[in-house]
Symmetry: D2
Subunit: 349 residues, 4 copies
């Protein structure tokens, strides 16, 4: 990380010397540049999050600016080409667009299999379903737990689809590892660092949702936690941020998609369901995300949403999902992407 | 506006009587409904913004909820079908998608005509250019004023394009009326009510940009100001809101597009340029807006943006605009819209 | 939880019947109230978070409004008087104002004891120090872990002060239980529900910081998680929310203090250090919080902040802390509170 | 304004030359500083808002950072001591704390005189009352206009208090000038630049409320508009910003008070009424603002708020205002300020 220390206009020579000394002590190389009114000191070296905070407190210092970003493994500078990887025979990243679909929570074998078959037929390539559900209320349905995981594995096998499910607790990582193909880290846990470290130690892909108040930089730092443990298969997901605009459940920050893609090589998905909070808004937001360049979407589908135990209002019906998939397919082509068709991966290469 | 007054659980009979009396005094009809624990009083009648505030202060009242929206003329309930109208031979609204393009500010005849020709050739149907520029700094270039208006009229005539330009001051309404075809109300002036009333009294269309902290309801209330004066040709524009996310200049609230369209019959455009603040992000945001159902976009184009006197970093180059127009045309079809082609309006009908 | 279901103006009688039936099926009592234009149905019964979501999807339903709050044990309705409890001989809550102070992270025995003595002498009643530090970067100093816990226990004993330290992982709850007197749940973990359940099962107080994008209701729901396990000693803390205003690290939402106190019986503290991010702003924000009625503050103090390994810029120096304590003492009196003086608790009763 | 241009790590020598040439062309002096990996170019000269935008578009440029702030006359660097001035015999700024009070809107002679007398007796030094009210709805009461101005002048004379009232339209500046002592610019008009220029041309003080989404820098730029016209008597006011937190009408950004005071010499007031939206919250927020160092507050008081035509729920009753004034007086002393007592100004000097 390179820093620029801007000295105050009337700072003393001693102040400058002290700054230069501290920079050297911190392991950076100081480069002093005297302007007419201001002196600035460049500090060049490895990333060190404490250095900036310490330098900005020294006498005579006006401001310390970071030139480069605090993440490394997640950055395009470190890894220029798009990260592309396979989960079973589904190829993720680069020009490939994958749609993850299924019910919000796993509630019963019947609903899971019904919805799973419907989304598979429509063209979804990955099956979702929550076994552990983070709920704002301690009195709400919080998932079927291990029994749900078993149903998910069974459904994935029957439908020949890789599966994704949320993990909320470091103590559940090994159980989820056993039953699902992709770990989902929910928005509330984006900065649950011990959880990120645990999934980072496994060899299964990690799908990280942006926290509702997280900056793009913080999202990439959370990816860095996983990458730093040696797990390079990370997917990022924009799912809406919290703003004053309360007409939707969250505000989908569609701009974040190209912004992340410019800075990072990791695949970026969009979650229109949680952003919208209302099924009528899911198709326009899904299309907006794909139009902005998202490499996939995660969409909640339910066959009987007014009986759903979680987030029914935002679940789309299977027939509407089918229509949406057709639009997504055409739209992906229009922006130079293509929707994955797991049966024909070899031709995708 | 219908209101529901929820009484506190232990409120006295006198409190209830007082509420019912005040409701009647305010010109509403009270409907009392006694629940087991709570009593609620419905108040049915015409919209009255003071009524709610007054009722919620009465003793024994827990909460007053408004069932219906405070706008009327702008609502779908009042006018179910999409508003569609012509400006010269350009049809706006309904399934028609119109692209407004041109430089941010009118800086010179040469740039205006160059850019105007380029965007016309690429398929833009309306020409933009600012003569009065609201600038955060009193020391910044604030537009050519009347000289700019004259250039804009001349360019519009030469290119056979209707023109749009911003008006910031009620005292300038008559001058802008004389020279341009559409009044633009900028985000900073969305709640400049006297200005809204002045343009509402004219017979030229008004293009209102959402304020950076305005709710959808407040935007529709600003439209209501114009509509209430008898001017029914109003276009609304989502241009990004201010949130914690500072990677882009503003956060494009793409969800607002379908939300407004559900509540109102007025056409909704998207402004990707101001939301992005950076030209590379303009195409993905423009496409996201059209994918979400926007009936048009307003895009800043400049032939020499690093010499622009205002907002150069967000101006796209003419050649990139041309490519974007091709994508917009296909995308509009995909979502059941079509890009306006002014020469063939009769077939659009 | 009582709900009001507002039917659409033209809804069919069948729709109404279906709503009433479903309300009954969900275990609520339906109360139909026919207005001139609108019919509304009250649903009275126990809290059920799924009910609202299910009802709002039924045909003919316009809106479902909740009259009461989703938390129960945390509410003033359930427990009218302020919660007051002792930790060792420190009385917390009600009119008592307690200042928690110490270094951000435990870095060395020397700094911890130095700072601890200084804050004790100035009038702080509880000692803070982080052994497990959540850091945005995986490369940053993340605390001394168990060694830090041991130092904290030792310092608390030597200074005769109860101690507080953050716990981030359910697997660390028993270790922290052993060494510290109060569990701190950081802002990033406010919705780490499994962690809340674990500390809820213990008999030590829990200090919950508001998440940077959490509503007051969500904060109270997190308290409800702890309370629901039988642990009634919960302290809430406003520590700044994330907004567009980036002149400070976070925006201290000082209004939240009286808002929470109106709704809940739990003590509310303020954290000026994290909100400010800069030591010069800590005194004005601390005073603002106490003036608004906070029952305590948590303040970072460091004897050598430009060498601190974490958040040095927001640490106040011991001499400035002493001056601040004097102001806090007078200010507490002015608003009808009093700063705890652990030696004389009997007279405080 | 001094700028730092950071070149990309692999930028070409030609790029550097082009940047240096453009800096010179823009009237700045370029200072090149070659680091090991990065080259940075300092640009020293007068403020020029276009320069930064133009430079950041040049090839090879990574980022352009501004070292200094874009305002000048409003800054502490330009004018180090606090601005202090008199309005009639009321001294504003520096250590003086002034309370502005009165009804939201002028509704009748009776209410205005009643409330005026009550707030004068309690210790308010300036009388407020709106004659032109910006209202979200075109159907709401929008003030008594000129008749209201006449009542305000009469009340001010009778009570021997200077008066403040809002002006919304450049065409009303001369009328308001005639009848009131201080111009109030509302939050919605903080960036109504023509209005700011008009009041800047007068010799009466201007009270500028921060826009609900304005940064501190933007607020100071609006002050700069007034100052640039030669009117040096400007008061700034924090009145709450719009955030996700909807438990209060707005989020009072209490941190902004010391932040503005650090950067600017202008007096800073707080408006607890609009931030709170609810009378019970007005005292804690007023105290929080004064505790944070505000040099005054503007508070809505109404003798019969449940009959008020505007914002009744946030008006405090006269008896509660009296109690609040007593607390404010003591609190001002505690933070080194003092509440103005117009009768004894000479001793204040």
């Amino acid at each position: 990380m390179d820093l620029i220390v801007v000295m105050k206009s009337g700072s003393a020579p001693d102040d400058l010397q002290r700054v230069a000394d501290r920079i050297a002590e911190l392991g950076f190389k100081p480069h002093i540049s005297r302007g007419e009114f201001r002196t600035i000191v460049g500090a060049i070296g490895e990333y060190d999050p404490e250095a900036r905070q310490q330098l900005e407190q020294l006498p005579g210092v006006d401001e310390v600016m970071a030139i480069s970003q605090p993440y490394k493994l997640a950055s395009r500078e470190f890894h220029e080409a798009d990260t592309i990887f396979d989960v079973k025979d589904v190829r993720i990243g680069g020009p490939n667009v994958n749609i993850i679909a299924g019910p919000c929570a796993i509630e019963s074998r019947e609903v899971l299999f019904d919805v799973g078959k419907a989304v598979k037929d429509a063209g979804a390539s990955i099956l979702r379903g929550g076994a552990f559900k983070p709920r704002t209320s301690p009195y709400a349905f919080s998932g079927m737990g291990k029994e749900g995981l078993e149903l998910l594995r069974e459904a994935g096998a029957a439908l020949d689809m890789p599966t994704i499910t949320e993990v909320m607790d470091p103590r559940d990582v090994s159980a989820v590892y056993e039953f699902a193909d992709i770990f989902q880290i929910g928005a509330r846990n984006m900065q649950n660092y011990n959880l990120l470290l645990e999934v980072g130690k496994t060899d299964k892909p990690v799908f990280i949702k942006r926290g509702i108040a997280a900056s793009v930089t913080e999202l990439l730092m959370s990816a860095e936690y996983v990458l730093s443990q040696g797990n390079h298969r990370v997917i990022l997901c924009e799912r809406g941020i919290r703003t004053f605009a309360d007409e939707t459940r969250f505000t989908l920050d569609v701009s974040a998609i190209p912004v992340i893609q410019e800075r990072s090589h990791l695949p970026v998905f969009v979650d229109p369901s949680h952003a919208a909070g209302k099924r009528d808004l899911v198709p326009p937001l899904a299309l907006a995300g794909i139009a902005a360049g998202a490499q996939g979407a995660i969409i909640e589908v339910h066959s009987c949403p007014d009986r759903a135990l979680c987030d029914g209002p935002q679940a789309v019906l299977p027939k509407n999902f089918q229509k949406l998939m057709q639009q997504i397919r055409q739209l992906a082509d229009l922006v130079g992407h293509r929707v994955s068709d797991p049966g024909r991966n070899t031709t995708n290469k």
